[in-house]
Symmetry: C2
Subunit: 381 residues, 2 copies
Amino acid sequence: MSQTLRRLSLADATSWIDRAISRAPAEPAPLFAAGSRVVAEEMRAAQSIPTADQAVLDGFAVAASATIGASSYNPLLLPLRAISAGDAIPPGCDAVIPLDLAQPLPSGVVECVEPVAPCENVEVRGSVAAPGALLVAAGTLLSPAYIGMLIGTGLASVMVTPRPMVRIVVAPRGATTDSNGPMCHALVQRDGGVVADIVAVERNQQSIRSALEMESADIVLVIGGTGPGTDDHAAAALAEAGDLAIHGIALRPGETASLGHTAGGVPVILLPGSPASCFLCYEMLAGRAVRRLGGRDPTLPYRSRVIHTARKFVSAIGVTEICPVRCVAPDIAEPLPSFGEIGLMAAVAADGFVIVPEGSEGYPQGAPVTVYLYEGSCIGG
Amino acid sequence: MSQTLRRLSLADATSWIDRAISRAPAEPAPLFAAGSRVVAEEMRAAQSIPTADQAVLDGFAVAASATIGASSYNPLLLPLRAISAGDAIPPGCDAVIPLDLAQPLPSGVVECVEPVAPCENVEVRGSVAAPGALLVAAGTLLSPAYIGMLIGTGLASVMVTPRPMVRIVVAPRGATTDSNGPMCHALVQRDGGVVADIVAVERNQQSIRSALEMESADIVLVIGGTGPGTDDHAAAALAEAGDLAIHGIALRPGETASLGHTAGGVPVILLPGSPASCFLCYEMLAGRAVRRLGGRDPTLPYRSRVIHTARKFVSAIGVTEICPVRCVAPDIAEPLPSFGEIGLMAAVAADGFVIVPEGSEGYPQGAPVTVYLYEGSCIGG
């Protein structure tokens, strides 16, 4: 009945993911729909941007030198050259007076009442980018401002890393409503992946194996049935359907997570069915794989910060433990009840978590620890 | 030709938005698809969660007191009660020995070689939540862990604030490719809104007015034609199609942004067509409106941090200026060329920006300033 898991270290498991998974080949995407996509190939300016000096706002093009000495006591009359934002600056001019700071007169002149400096309200040729200058680096997650900037330079498309297609296979125990599929769906979306499908299967070896033999996704997550119990068949199904490379990881919660490939070479991650374990194994293993496939930064998608402990942290030697924490003062964090005690409440009630490595027994009160911070946590900026 | 804008202060403009716009009435959403939705009504536990003491992992249920003194030199034989993760703890037991730390024997007993503490590997009745305890507060953005936790407590749906439907009307000048529509599309998505459509219209009063009379969205953004020039018709079109409440804001870039309503009472924000101005007016005005409609935190969606200036910041009195900055050392930021000089490159090349208020002429070298940080900026944790 009882199988012994090998329990590889978490560091060895993440190294396996890093060796087994790399980003998919680039594909073109139209820039107008490329928000939040990851740039696969850097883009450089083909020419000076802008290609000519141009007005930043609507107004009157002038030679700045001709405005010296202008004031409301000494209005200067200059040739009327109305100009719209984005227009090229006409020859002989080098500045723009905003529309409402000068008065055009019927005689074809404009009355200027204050001096402007050279280049004022002018976007100078090449000021955004010189020919060959980097516009966007490979690996950049395209923010809205990048979309606007790149389309504005005249580009229409960009090479991006495809969003990874993720199959989620859930093998829940008995008639319980599955909460892990929807949770992992939301996690995959956060990490830039697309959930191809959530396949619910019966908790037996044949059903899980069949799900692993389905037409290809870029990665498959199997949830549930990873343990050493009599109704745990995920590891055996993977060993049969492909290879079970790593069976068990020295991670708490999450000891029964496993890694491997389908016969077709698609990476497979087995996540425990206990919700807190499923969550943490996604965070520590599956998320890294999804982000690597999609060309994103593979490290944890949380800010981290060194904070001091309000109380002692106790952790077992020989296993990496994930400890939820709450801030009790700026730069001071206290441990919360563990994921084992209160399940996912340990994630939603926390400001973040501390990863206590295998070799550590924990931390004394007042020790500095690296806290990974959940979005919107109250631990300062 | 030249119209004078009234130029309300930015603070007055944001107050107008806060008075004019509130979140839409709640709607139910199935929890399995509620990732990143905003909770409209708090949810509390109807009963103790879990409803009974339950096993955290697969193993053997025992009375902790019966394991005292167990060791490999003194194995204790206890009644065999195999238990799976999630099962209720049987009467008389209060702890679970993991499967692989005990050996079941054919005689119906289990050999225990180390003691366990009471409640070890047990999620105790009510430990996640007592009856009536808060499970999720109104205003919470549902993270993946919340989705898992709430479904795990037996809930199936949640009341959320609807995603705001946003119409984007673009009135570009001449034959230029519009970059503002795609940029604002990405910004609206970031802020939890849905772009109902991007309507490109000719740059004349009649076309813009017709777009403002289209069937309702929750908010309309009109981009371009906001200035005082001869081909600027957005403000006049809004005045005709509804009301133009605020015409011009003391914000640089972005002086020509305006606010109002359609005849049907839908809020309308006029954004300047110059890309950097469009971006900043979205950030300072439209984004706040979209986030308020969707029940999100209306403040800027950036972390902020007090950092010291590496050099003097110069800013005009009487206008709020948005100044891009780059970090040059931990906690030290220098100003970059302005949005007026290099357009949106000032957003993508920066680590963040400083808002210099109307009453300020800028900051001396070494002064503390609040920097709003772009995602992934190199300014620390």
